[in-house]
Symmetry: D2
Subunit: 338 residues, 4 copies
């Protein structure tokens, strides 16, 4: 942490900051510039709060030097983490495609979709049983009945199951059925949910919130890691910007940025990321081209009759096309899609 004093700070103001730093158990280090005095703080700045120093008289600015996350960082673990989801490795040389309907609607709809995405090359089946909808009048999911259908689909196809959990009291129930528990974008900072998930022995798919910075995203991962669950897969799914031609702005830049700062795998959700079925293929190719470890894609046998998210769902035929195109790009960047 670096404390920048105001231009007109006096010696006693500086000494006040110096003694406060010592009081907090850290070591101050003065540097007298031409226009400003700068005070460096030596020690683990994560243990103190910025405003314990910024509010002292004649302090102009306090600048953190260390990243706020520790366990999620590459400084902590240099090698890429590989997460095992029902036997499927996420984060290694292979690119993994997860697919399925936005919502589990009926047994027929789910089984048709599960068979189709498996045939096309998906390795995991996604499907929502608990749906956080913007409108109270919209379909909210089948709940545990949806989980049971997902388990049935797993039995039939052998595909592992990815599904969302919405609050801490549901964690045990969902964990009984799911192979990979998804934290939705709206819950990325639901700290009670994160703490409950940090105590289970199943992998977590952590989706980035619409307005999360990279630091905030990795701090939510840190909740999981510091609580004892190191099986974390990150997922970019679009951020909120002024842009009008996509529902969200899929921010692929975060993929290589995360790869530098963290050891955790990161996949991309082009369905929510763009909100437009006609942009899913090009943006899926781009996601793999810039280094994503996989994709999670919405597929529905009849998107125009889907209970939710039809606009951003692919038909099985288009999904098959997606897998072929993504495979070609994966090969071009030295990876494969098994």
């Amino acid at each position: 942490m670096i404390i920048v004093m105001e231009a007109h700070a006096r010696e006693e103001d500086i000494q006040h900051v110096v003694s406060r730093i010592k009081e907090l158990g850290l070591t101050p280090h003065l540097s007298q510039g031409v226009e400003r005095t700068i005070i460096g703080v030596i020690g683990d700045e994560r243990l103190i709060q910025k405003d314990q120093l910024s509010l002292l008289p004649h302090v102009e600015n306090v600048i953190p030097i260390l990243k706020p996350y520790k366990l999620a960082s590459r400084d902590f673990k240099q090698t890429d983490s590989i997460i095992d989801v029902a036997g499927v490795k996420v984060g290694g040389k292979n690119v993994v495609v997860m697919a399925g309907p936005c919502s589990v609607e009926t047994e027929e709809q789910l089984m048709i979709t599960a068979d189709a995405v498996k045939a096309a090359g998906a390795l995991l089946l996604r499907g929502g049983a608990y749906k956080p909808r913007t409108s109270p009048y919209a379909f909210q999911g089948l709940g545990e009945d949806g989980l049971k259908l997902l388990a049935k689909a797993r039995e039939k196809t052998g595909l592992g199951i990815v599904t969302e959990v919405m609050e801490s009291p549901d964690v045990d129930l969902v964990a009984d059925y799911a192979d990979l528990l998804q934290v939705g974008a709206r819950n990325m900072q639901n700290t009670k949910l994160l703490r409950a998930l940090s105590k289970i022995r199943k992998p977590i798919l952590l989706k980035r919130n619409f307005s999360a910075t990279l630091n905030e995203f990795l701090m939510s991962a840190e909740y999981l890691l510091s609580g004892g669950n190191d099986q974390v897969i990150l997922c970019e799914r679009g951020i909120r910007t002024f842009v009008e031609y996509t529902r969200n702005t899929l921010d692929l830049n975060i993929v290589p940025a995360v790869k530098q700062l963290s050891h955790l795998p990161i996949i991309v959700d082009p369905s929510h990321g763009t909100g437009r079925h006609d942009l899913i293929l090009p943006m899926s190719r781009a996601a793999i081209a810039c280094g994503a470890d996989g994709l999670i894609v919405e597929v529905h046998p009849n998107p125009a009759k889907a209970f939710s998210d039809g606009d951003q769902s692919l038909t099985p035929a288009v999904f098959q096309q997606l897998v072929m195109e993504v495979k070609a790009v994966a090969n071009a960047v030295g990876r494969s899609l098994s």
Copy 2:
């Protein structure tokens, strides 16, 4: 709902849309333009999903006409709602100031603050017992012990209590202590929490999420209203933008915009909205000048030693100054601060 057909759509494509509209129980209405055919949908468009029509062949665009919310709208209720919080009326001619520490830390800290804000003119006491923090290493609140201290402060000062509830299992416990239950910005779309709160008989303070549109904000209110709780107060607390000189961008424009579209009262949180104690006074004056029904402000006896949010907390003396300045502005716009 208006369906815009593509320039090259043929008669059979148009008929396909027409029959789908009828199938959904609504009435189509054709309008043949020079470059495009437009199909109006007559009936309650809230009952169908946009993509049930947008995915039909040669549909270029589907444009909703009605607002998605009903009970929260001024069409539904023309007169301003006034919410009673422990005898304090929010939404009427008076402007209400709520104040207190970000977190309840100790009995001493809370009592000093409660006495001070009451003396200055606050009518409700805010204080966090459950804290959703970005970092797992930061102070997470005292929990029920915090609630008990808040109750003690109410007993001592007579001020009603405003405090946050973080997830549905805590609703009953928090409702036992609080006079006004706050839904934090991160939980604005926690639909399970909203549903649980819609079943209780206590007023709710619903904070806008960092990236919520006005429609999304009012749809979260609609969860509460449609579930049976019409005691809802809205709160603007800053949105996420590219701007760097404030922690968030306090968006006062939403105050008069809400007043036109909804009957619900709206207050402003300049502490979170700016993240800077030195901007709280001017932005509080501005909030009241543009029509806000009140303020919620963080106050701490010693901000530099606060467990959280010291940067955006006022000392009691500065808070007293705020109340005086706000009172003058309230009078200038034909309101009062009792």
Copy 3:
């Protein structure tokens, strides 16, 4: 400037940075932390570029300490600047209202408007002769004929004239007619225009670009100041965000933020800032409440027939109401509106 070395940087990497700093004519100052070595740079960091150091091997980050602007800062000039525009003082105790049509359309339209805004209390007359329109098919302004009409209106009413100049070749012509030359939001970083304006002896109204940070805004002012023209008035007119209920998001937070960092006056344009005539009054009151030195408002005798910006123009009657309301707020915050 602070250079943060990577955790694994070796002694020779540090020495490399140290010698580069000396080569650039500055003095390095080492601080050995627990996890990182930090190198402070003593001297005027504005003279070097960040990337001259950030690209050296094993440098993790380079953090500027000083503000990039000098002449626009309060460190440089402590007292508020007061700009004289045709005898009207902007930046002092008085709040100044400028008003008039978006575009000069006809002599009749201009004269009616000029008389009306003068009668209501405006001290300066705005009107566009050169219009930067989004569409090539829209009205682009009357050019010099518009300037002549503005001069005629000044003669008739005595009101000083505010009008936009769009590129450097037009500066002399526009300066012949205008009392205050406006740089539009789209031209805030048109450096050739800024340089040309820095050479004239007329005051400049510099509007903030839709996506300008505070630093960028003040750096554009610095172009004017460093070129020799210190008669600069800043103007907030809305930023681009995800928000959908206003055309732009009027960011009033910048008003008190500028007041702290700079000595220049700042006014607010609620017409462009919101794009909605029905939000102009509340947001004008708010602008003055948080400390703005004035307003610039669009007024048209018949907004539904305006050649441009009718949606955000007031009728003369509503403008009169605005002035009365703003006057009350100005008085409440210790200022006046003459």
Copy 4:
């Protein structure tokens, strides 16, 4: 255009709108819904302004149906435009790489770079002679001397020249030297510059502004096309968002979105788009994977000593690596890089 009347609009309000529509030379078409009356406007809505109708009494909303651009749209021209730049075709099956320094600094620097980028596979040489810098204290370019050096580099290497023109008076001079004239992001809506460029017979590289919507971007192209110059290449170079780990947020989603709506080619600038040299390679691969027609990349023989933008410049060796990687991706998506 669709006019939505307020719920409580009376018959006379509706008739008022109807007669105004007729007055404007268009045909009204009524549709009586359950909650609202809707009036469709038949005819070319581009000829009228939205607010000529939205300001009539009891109009709730006016919704445009047609795109505001015409010549830039795929409705106007179905086949992809291919632009010839000094013999290099942009927009066809081949992917074109343009590269060179941010600023032309010295003859030696330029010749080394030109030779290196040519050897690596670039087909056009970029280099700035006129530089719009944020700071008045930063290097502003060599001006015409820079143009002369670029011409010399063209003579030596045979590479066509891409360079920026900053305002209309410079158009003829820059056009004498350049093969492709660049409109920088800050000038995307400099309409006087666009008009001047629409009159010359050289191709234009139009960069998207930081905060431009797709409509605004294509409307700036429309200025060029409607003025008579149909040789337009679009360029995405990053938008302004809340994101902190990139200087801008490279928005690749616009690439496939433009391909659907327009016939114009679009290339990507990953240097400005990310502002980080270490993200340029992955984002270049992604750009080509999602369908971009080319790249424009900053290369400098010694980025740490560059006069500008060193942070986002590649060394010649890394650029060579980029070309190899991009070639592999281009092949994987059925294109080639000659």
